[in-house]
């Protein structure tokens, strides 16, 4: 079950198929009133500000970035738990951007979500059986056979099917996350949005849940949008990665390229800031980048390139012109066409490849 084998075949099959999910220029502004002195002033938080991506069946897209970059809002917009201000979300050729609540039911079956905190996302007063039966009843699936389906699901995620009458409080964090995964899988979705699914778990449990997700993805041919701040987890799990900063995608491309030869300064800084366990083995990265300061407020993001206030390459042009998402390679086709062909995209006026940020681990002898 090696990833290297499945990834290319998956990708090859996909180019012919039409995309599962198309997100175009997605925006979400949150208006609010603020007291300034004695006056009330209207302001907006630009949580997500024009992002686009495409996802095909079986593909996994990772959204990474720091808190406040809009990655969770994006997840909520795709699942339509929240309505976009502008832009469009097209799922299997159907525009779901502004569907009404009752029209969303069919989408809810195909798009499911796994939440971060397994303590808050399960109702403490419901048994596991009832938590897992509810989605089946709502969608009228496995009528009369619900109990058997629930036991199947529990087995699928590695829990004891006899525990069907227990309450969430009787399970550990890792087990609860498995219940959350079973609930998402109950209605046989095509796309799963996972919002930080392992960040509340301990390292040893995290690995168990990651393995489970990878197994399910391969067995059930699921597409994933995987939101996480942990770069290691994203590298392990995803095919494509989109790096976000202040509501925008600053770099997008194949996982290997993003991690080994990032082009955007923010991606480079992010990779460089993550502490590396290999330092213990005496293998340190050749170069370190340390950013100064914090992420600016999304209420009033910097003009031009949003990263310029923390960027060491920033020049006058960065404040005036917002760099578009583009390839470093000569190419005249549209942004969408480039993305579809798997080209690497970045949004920087002075992009250059850096390969010195991650420690080079000598290849382990085959064994």
């Amino acid at each position: 079950m090696s990833d290297q084998m499945t990834a290319p075949t998956r990708a090859a099959a996909d180019t012919a198929a039409k995309p599962l999910l198309e997100v175009t220029d997605l925006q979400r502004y949150f208006p609010f009133r603020e007291v300034q002195g004695l006056r009330m002033v209207k302001a907006t938080v630009k949580a997500v500000d024009g992002i686009s991506f495409t996802l095909r069946q079986g593909q996994t897209l990772g959204l990474v970035g720091e808190s406040g970059c809009g990655k969770s809002t994006t997840a909520r917009l795709i699942t339509r738990l929240d309505e976009p201000t502008a832009g469009s979300v097209v799922f299997e050729g159907r525009d779901i951007t502004h569907l009404k609540e009752h029209e969303l039911r069919s989408i809810r079956r195909d798009v499911q979500m796994i939440f971060q905190d397994p303590y808050c996302s399960l109702n403490p007063r419901h048994t596991i059986g009832s938590i897992l039966t509810t989605p089946l009843k709502v969608h009228g699936l496995h009528k009369g056979n619900e109990k058997r389906r629930v036991q199947e699901l529990l087995e699928l995620v590695g829990l004891n099917p006899e525990h069907i009458n227990r309450y969430p409080s009787e399970f550990s964090g890792g087990q609860r996350q498995r219940i959350g995964i079973a609930r998402a899988l109950a209605v046989e979705p095509k796309l799963i949005i996972a919002d930080e699914p392992v960040s509340a778990l301990d390292v040893s449990i995290q690995a168990q849940v990651m393995n489970l997700l990878a197994k399910l993805r391969d067995e059930l041919d699921l597409a994933f949008v995987f939101v996480a701040h942990d770069l290691g987890v994203v590298r392990h799990f995803c095919d494509q990665v989109a790096v976000m900063y202040l509501g925008k995608i600053v770099e997008y491309g194949d996982k290997k390229k993003i991690y080994e030869a990032p082009e955007h300064p923010y991606t480079q800084a992010l990779l460089s800031a993550a502490p590396d366990i290999n330092v213990a083995r005496g293998i340190a990265p050749k170069e370190r980048i340390r950013l100064v300061g914090d992420v600016p407020s999304p209420i009033d993001p910097p003009s031009g390139c949003r990263f310029r206030t923390r960027c060491w390459k920033a020049q006058d042009i960065c404040a005036q012109v917002e760099p578009p998402l583009m390839t470093s390679v000569e190419d005249t086709t549209s942004v969408r066409a480039k993305r579809d062909r798997g080209l690497h995209l970045q949004a920087c006026h002075f992009a250059e490849v850096k390969t010195t940020l991650v420690a080079e681990v000598p290849a382990e002898p085959a064994g």
Binding site: E66, D202, A207, M210, D230, A280, G282, A359
Partner: protein, 356 residues
């Protein structure tokens, strides 16, 4: 401030130079009696923190890493906690000591930086005032001197425009800035020991890097001892000198931080490292430790880790089930101690790594 007044015994000489032991924790146990029984949060834990060095206490949630450090500062409710063993901070015995002793040593000898600066700073008071108050509590100076000191401290931890910032409230600070203010608050009385409890867990990676650099720089400047409590092994690799790995309330392996992470000798440490999705390597499947940590109400007999250990059948007899392993030097590794029954742990783990 010297703490010799009020009959506090100074049993050994105070630590003054780099490498001297500031904190000596010996056979510490912390037990919480509850309705369901005794929760053994920490059992027989021993470690030492030395001036100028960073000691990392590593473990998963519920392993007792925070509970043991809170005992150092007397932050447990004495009515609901049974603490036994010995904690010697700069020669002062703290187990069984009265609250007045703790009030004297807090901030002057040992200070703590908490995980969540949002809840650790008082939301109603200005940041500068909070720091000045900590200084006033232990020094006979005027308020204006203390306030000046607070501004100095804010400047020291890299807060731009400290004069203006000192007059702001915690909610006006960003997460990283708040954690810097926490550190300033911790260091205002120049303690010999700084306990940082998951100081960067609530922060973003780029800010985490800044804060870790700051703690390292300040330690070099002040030469104090730092105890870093964390679950993040990569952070340990980059910052710590020494390490204690904890599992279910017990220390299971200790030694030089980099050496332990490069070549673990206890199956739990090894399992933790194996389960990391290291972002420098691509693996098809992560190697997880099976099962989950035991309940502290009902610890398994023998070695607490044995229900999850995949090497237990390599131990002759049933020692893993029946006998609690004692601390012993790891065979074949200098400067390393572990609690494990494996006859030759280093070779066993190396062979396992080769097989995969």
């Amino acid at each position: 401030m010297t703490a010799t007044a009020n009959g506090i015994a100074t049993q050994s000489a105070e630590a003054t130079s780099v490498g001297d032991v500031v904190l000596d924790v010996d056979d510490l146990s912390v037990v919480f009696p509850t309705e369901e029984g005794l929760v053994k949060a920490v059992s027989n834990l021993s470690y030492q923190a030395r001036l100028g060095r960073t000691l990392a206490i590593v473990g998963e949630s519920g392993s007792g890493k925070s509970v043991s450090s809170m005992a150092v500062l007397g932050l447990h409710n004495p009515k609901r906690t049974q603490i036994t063993g010995s904690i010697k901070l700069d020669g002062i015995e703290l187990v069984g000591a009265p609250q007045s002793t703790f009030q004297k040593i807090r901030s002057t000898k040992a200070a703590m930086v908490f995980q969540d600066p949002q809840s650790a700073l008082h939301p109603f008071h200005k940041v500068g005032k909070q720091i000045a108050e900590a200084y006033l509590a232990h020094n006979k100076v005027s308020r204006s001197v203390a306030e000046k000191r607070a501004i100095e401290m804010l400047d020291l931890v890299g807060i731009p425009n400290p004069k203006r910032r000192a007059l702001q409230y915690p909610h006006e600070f960003s997460g990283g800035m708040r954690q810097r203010a926490m550190i300033a608050l911790g260091l205002v009385n120049d303690p010999k020991l700084l306990i940082a409890d998951e100081p960067t867990t609530a922060l973003d990676v780029t800010v985490q890097a800044q804060i870790l650099d700051l703690v390292n720089d300040l330690q070099k400047e002040f030469g104090s001892a730092v105890i870093l409590i964390t679950h993040d092994l990569a952070v340990v690799a980059e910052t710590a000198d020494d390490i204690v790995v904890m599992y279910a309330g017990r220390g299971v392996e200790k030694g030089d931080a980099k050496e332990v992470l490069a070549q673990p000798s206890m199956p739990y440490t090894y399992g933790l490292l194996q389960s990391l999705p290291s972002h420098s390597e691509d693996l098809a499947e992560l190697k997880a430790i099976q099962g989950s940590p035991p309940s502290l109400l009902n610890l398994p007999p023998g070695c607490s880790f044995h229900p999850r250990c995949e090497f237990k059948d390599q131990v002759p007899g049933d020692a893993c089930w029946t006998q609690l392993p004692e601390w012993r030097p790891t065979p074949g590794l200098a400067n390393r101690q572990l609690r494990c029954h494996l006859p030759d742990p280093v070779r066993t783990l190396q062979e396992d790594e080769g097989v995969r």
